[in-house]
Every structure is written in C-alpha cells, then in structure tokens.
Symmetry: C2
Amino acid sequence: MGAATFLQGRLVRRAASLVLALGLWFLPVPAGLTAQSWHLFAIFIATIFAVVAGALPILTASLIGAGAAVLSGTLLPAKAWEGFANGTILLIVSAFLVARAVVKCGLGKRLGYLVVSLFGRSTLGLGYSIFILDAVIAPAFPSNTARSGVLYPVIYSLAQSGGSRPEDGTQKRLGSYLMFCGMASLCLSSGLWLTAMAGNALGVEIARNFGLTITFGSWLVASSVPTLAAFALLPLLLYKIIPPEVKATLDAPPAARQALREMGGLSRDEKWVTGIFVGMVGLWALSGTLHLDSTAVAFLGLGVLLATDVLTLKDIAQEGDVLATFIWFAVLYTLSSQLNELGFMGFLGEQIARGLVGIPWPAVYVVLIVLYVLMHYLFVSQTAHVLALLGVFLDVGAKVGVPVAPLAFGLLFASNYFAVITPQGSSANVIFAGSGYLTQGELYKLGGLVTAFMLVIFLVVGTPWLMLVTR
Amino acid sequence: MGAATFLQGRLVRRAASLVLALGLWFLPVPAGLTAQSWHLFAIFIATIFAVVAGALPILTASLIGAGAAVLSGTLLPAKAWEGFANGTILLIVSAFLVARAVVKCGLGKRLGYLVVSLFGRSTLGLGYSIFILDAVIAPAFPSNTARSGVLYPVIYSLAQSGGSRPEDGTQKRLGSYLMFCGMASLCLSSGLWLTAMAGNALGVEIARNFGLTITFGSWLVASSVPTLAAFALLPLLLYKIIPPEVKATLDAPPAARQALREMGGLSRDEKWVTGIFVGMVGLWALSGTLHLDSTAVAFLGLGVLLATDVLTLKDIAQEGDVLATFIWFAVLYTLSSQLNELGFMGFLGEQIARGLVGIPWPAVYVVLIVLYVLMHYLFVSQTAHVLALLGVFLDVGAKVGVPVAPLAFGLLFASNYFAVITPQGSSANVIFAGSGYLTQGELYKLGGLVTAFMLVIFLVVGTPWLMLVTR
C-alpha cells in the first residue's frame, strides 16, 4: 500500500490511474507486439493499479476496465465476457453458496467446536491444524479451487463461532488470520503433491520436452524438504504479521467439548448438509478418475441443498457479495487470459530471457525464478502462467547452462506458491478474498510478504535439496 | 398451473418430474434425432415441468437440470456454461443493478411522481402510459432487452412509491399489474417496428429467401392495425385479469405534484444518476450506428455509478436475487440453445410440417402460426426461435400454397408477441420476472393468456389487414 500513502486523496489516485492508462496507451507500441495487446496491457495494468492504490474498489475497477476494453475496440465482446462461463469461476460461485448452507444449518459451528476441542488451545494451533488438514487431503484433489471450497466452510465457521464477523468489525479477532492461513495453506499444499493442482501435471508435460521425467514420487521427494520447512514456519509467520486478537485459549477445548455435548445429535438440516457435502467432496476427489466435471457436481449439490430447504431462496437473496466477486473475478480473469492469448506474456518472458545471456548460471537460476514469481502479478490463473511462461523460462535457463532439473522443479514449485501474490492470483484464493475478513490492501500486502518468504525458503532450503536429489 | 392443482403435494410433483425425465430418457430415440439431443430434451422438459408444476423453484430446477445434463454426459461442461458469458444475459444483470441506483438515489421516486402527475388519475392510466412510452422509444432500440432496462426502473419506482413491495406482501396493490404491463408492452412494441427487436431484421433476411422484400415502412404498415388493436385492449385486459388493488386515484396527480414541489431540486446523487442513465440510454440507442456493445455500455455505466458512490458495495451485497436470476436464466438459455444447436427444434418443426400436407391453405396458415407460437414454450430466445423455425415454417407454407407475404408477417409478428409465453421466453422479460412482484405460477398463467389474446387479435384483425396490404 506504499502507493496509497504516497498519493493523498482518492481523486489524485484516480487521476494517476487514468494517466497511467492513457500514458501507456499512447506510448509507441514495442516492436514485436500488436497494438491490440499493448492497449489491453495499458487497461489491465491501470485496472490493477487502481485497486492496489486504493483509487477504486476491485468491482468498480473491473467493470470500468472491461467496459473500456470493449468500447475502445481492444477486445471483442464475445472474448471479453468469456470469464463468466469459466467452469472454475462458476465452481467458486457455487462453493460460496454451499459454504453458506454449512454455516446456516449449524454444521459449521459443530465442525468448528470439533476442531477447537482437538487443536484449540491456541489460535496458532488452529492455524497449524488448517495446514495439516489441507496437506493431507490435497493429493486427492486435482483442483485446488474445489479444495478451497472444502476448507472455506470450516474456516468460516471457526471464525464465526469465535465471535469474529466482518459486519461487526471483529474480523481481526480470529477471522483475518485464519482466512489467510487458508489461502497460504492452499498454495503450499498444491506444491507438495503433483496431483494437488491442475497446472502441475501440465508443467510436468512441459518439463518432459526438456528431457526431464517427473513422477508422483519424484515430485514428492523434491518438494518434501522445502515444503516441510515452509510448513513449520508459515503459520507462525502469519501469526506475527497478522496477529489474531484472540490468542491463548486454554479454556476453549473443554468449552468446545461442553458446547458439543449441549448441541446433542445432528439436526435434520445438518444431516442433509453432511450427506450432500460428503457426497460433493467425494465426487470432487473422484472427478479425475470418473471424468466428472467439478462445477456440475457443485451445481447439483447446490440444487439439492435448495430442494431440501436447507438453503432457501431468501438465503440466496442475501448473497449479493457473491455476485460482486463473480463479476470482478470473471472480468480480471478474462483481461489476463486475453493478454496471454494475444502474445503479451510470451513477449515479456522473451525480453527478460534475452537480457540474461552471458551471466553465470547460478545467478541466472535465481533471477529466472524471481522474475517468474514477480510476473504472476499479471496473471489470474496458475495454469495460464505455467502454459505461457514455464517453457520460455526453461528454454532460456537451458541455453545459459542452468541444470534443467533444479530449475524445472524450482519453477514448478514457484507456480504454486506465487498463487497468493494477489487475491486474484489463483481461483483458489477468491473465496477467501471475498469473505470480507481481509481488505484488498491486506491481501496484497500479506500476499507479497508470504510470496517473498516462500521464495526465500525455496531458494535457500530448496535449491541445495534439489541439487542433491536431482543429481 | 393446472398441473399444480392436480398433483397434490410437492413430493408427488417432484416424483412426477423425475418420472417424466426418466420416462422420456429411456423411450426409444425417434428416427432422425441423435440420442444426445433426445436426452437433452428429456432433461429440459422435466426442468420446465418441475417449475410449472410447482415441484421446484426455477433456480433449484435449473441447477439440478444443468448438473444432470453435464454429469450424464449429455452436454460438455464448456457448452453447458456458455449462457453465463452471453452478452444479453450480462446486460440484464447490469440493468438490474443500475435500476437499483435509480431507485436508491430518489430519482425513481421523482420519475414515478412525474408520471403519476401526468397520467395517474387511475392505475389503468399508468398502464397505458407504460405502453405509450415504450412504443415511442422502441424504434430507436435494436435490443428489447436494453429497452427493458429503461422501462424497469420507471415501473419499479412507480410500484415502490405507490406502497407496493414484495417484501411487505403488497405486490398486488400496483406492482404485479404494472410489471406485467411492462412485459406485455415490450412484446407488443417489438413487433410494431422492424428495428425494435434484434430478431426482426434476421427474420426479414429469412423472408427474403422466399422472394419477399420487407422495409422499415412496409413492416410498419403491416404491423400498425393489429398492433393498435392489441394496444387499445391489452392494458384493459390485464387490468381485468390481474386487477391492481389501487384503482381510482383521482387525488393522486395533485398529491404527486405536491410531493414533487416538496422534493425540491435534484440531489447530488440524482444528478449523477440522471447524467449516467441518460448517457447509457443514449449509447444504447446509438449502439447500432456506432457499433457499441450494449453490455459494455452497461458495465461502464455501472462502474461509474459505483465510482461516484451513488451505488455502494453494500448495495450490491443485498442483490443476491440478481445472482439467482443470472444463474437460472443462463442455465435455461443454454439448455434451450443447445437443444436447438443439436437439431431438435428443426426436427420438431419438420415433423409438424410433414403432417400438414394436403390440408387447405387457410387452415394450414392458422395451424402453422398456432404451432409456431406454442413451440415457444421450448425457447428462451426470440432470435433463436426465428433462426431455428421461421424458414422451416415458411417453406412448408409455401409448398402447401399459403400466400407467402401474410404468412411471413404473421410469423414475424408472432416472433414478438410469443415472447411473453414463459418468463424465460425472452431476455426482455427476465428483469420483470425477477422483480419479485409476480410468482412463477402467475407468470406462466398470465403469459399464456396474453399470448392467446395476441394470437386471436393477430389472426382475426391482422389477417384481413395483411391480405389487404400485401396484395
């Protein structure tokens, strides 16, 4: 939020966003790029800048950015609205509404008490328990977005039953910390297992073109040490930089056990939600094997929740926030993916690569990974980033003499941990970013810090380990 | 709603929907159709049946229908979510939120008082004034959906300032009547002018293949007499079948004038909304000439409304209803358009056509138009219906010796008035159908009645006139 404190006043920040957009727009188009891709870059950067600088809320900036892109003739309407039909984005929309049902029926509270009764002696313990739960279920989930739909109701319920609610201004009690634990955990667990994120398999295929064969087992061996190091420190780091107001809770586990006793057996609605949710989670986990579409599973589950009256149309009517999240994410997703489709990302990667020729390989190794991570500010999808840049970066590294295996693993792991760099950096973030527990400013600040921390861990701890296991 | 009174109990109605789906699914596939299109037909019909019979709300039925279509392998996920990226549907979503701003800032109330001060001596007068306003602005609007976004805020404000609100259970005071006037008016005004609905120009192109040249002027001459007849009777008919509780309001115009005086000049927010709304309406009207995308105009307008704080993120958070409407309409739109794309609609048209050979032409003329209208129960887009069936029906008519010109005009006008037959029969309906002033049952009942009325007017008054002017 450096930009926000520097630029005083909303109007100044808005003027700066506009000047940035127009300035870039009217700069000469760099050789090798089309005017169209350059203009889209101007609109996209100004949109993100307006959000980061606090000139406009993310929904407002996205609507204006999309309107401008189409009305200026930079994007065709049919291209510009594509994101709204993206299955992953629709999965998030459904997951939001399913989470609502888990909380409303009381099951979320019960799950919350259960987790607290086991790990709740401290908020830090809760943080670690989120990371453990996620790491354990991750290999079964090829979609980290679907996994975010599993974690979110539990975390949301923990926050709510701990008396932490955005509408009361009490998000700092527990919720902000736990929500960011969820986001950070997902980016860590996704990198631990080859099968925990859709883009991993794709990255393995790209690495194969460079003569490297990666299996489920060799991935796990390579990822284990740096991931465990990050895993040990990350909940604690977040505990320091976004301290929850509720900390020591020695009485919490017995109180939670007492509350569980008082709740008695599962209610009718809780039983329905348990059955439907377990069914959805099971089908999500099996979606790869049975070739089931995760979004369709979510639609069906949501339909059944409505049909059983666990969730009502009145409940849905209060979920306008979900509509807002749907709109801004769909728009940013499209702008970024179009930027990629128009060749901008590849062009940028090649420019960077060209500047690295003649530098010793260990320096190139570090620079490539750092730049690869930084470029994720421009992406709203991990898979798109892998698709656009992994090959380019591997190619440069190989040409300059960087050993392919450590570089490939380094970039593949980065493709997971950079997810948290912006709220829209992965679809798995969006449900947490839309929860109301974290401001856009906090999301960018924490995202930047956590990404930097992960980068250091994976460079300092990860590199020697990779050199060892890939010999 | 005959089905609803016949089938007692929600569970029975649900079982019936399921039996219908499975029964159709497992019937032998008719020769000439693919199994895929037949299975999609089974899912679509059962979805619509579940809504009409009151087994499930439209959102619930749509979610389950879409989930079933994808999980059964009938539709590919990418195809199934297409509707969410449809520009027209996104236009409705934006128009809903823009309407919210018009009401919130007080401008809607002011517009309401203004209309009442001029025409408000009776609710019937208000009804007629909606039809007049719409008919006058229609030729400038190639998109009747955009026009629905202009009419809706005025009608919504009239209802609200008349003390008629769904959340209070007072929708029958004024709102139900005025909302349906809006829907009925749009389907009438769209048929009056060649340029008042996107599908009209398309239909004219199709008719050209049968040797018929239709101009802006010749269309208006042909449509004028039956449209004026319907125009004279329709507000009155609706007044009888969906009587508003507030009727004679002789004191209303002076009271409205008094209220306007008390309101004083435009507030800051009203000025912003007026400027932005006039800008949007102007750009919508010019969208054809300037090649501007209507949806992008709406996105930009909505973005500016948010940027000026006229509309806030808190307001959006309360608009979960809009999300629900977005989901069900996008899903039904996709199911219907896929049914069409898979050849089901054309197949059905040809079957009907085949049965008509050998019957005297005046009977064929009537039967073709009636069947063409009834088949709109299967469509969620006027343009798709025109595209799928107009050519087929004209071809049959020509082969059996029906004069082409009256038949073409008869079908073209029907392509406008059948819009109201179901709430999803045209995107222009959706904003009214989602207003909360009319139940799904009322929408289907009134839609059926009004369509039948229009059919009679256009056959009885329209046919002699068409025979006269197309000699």
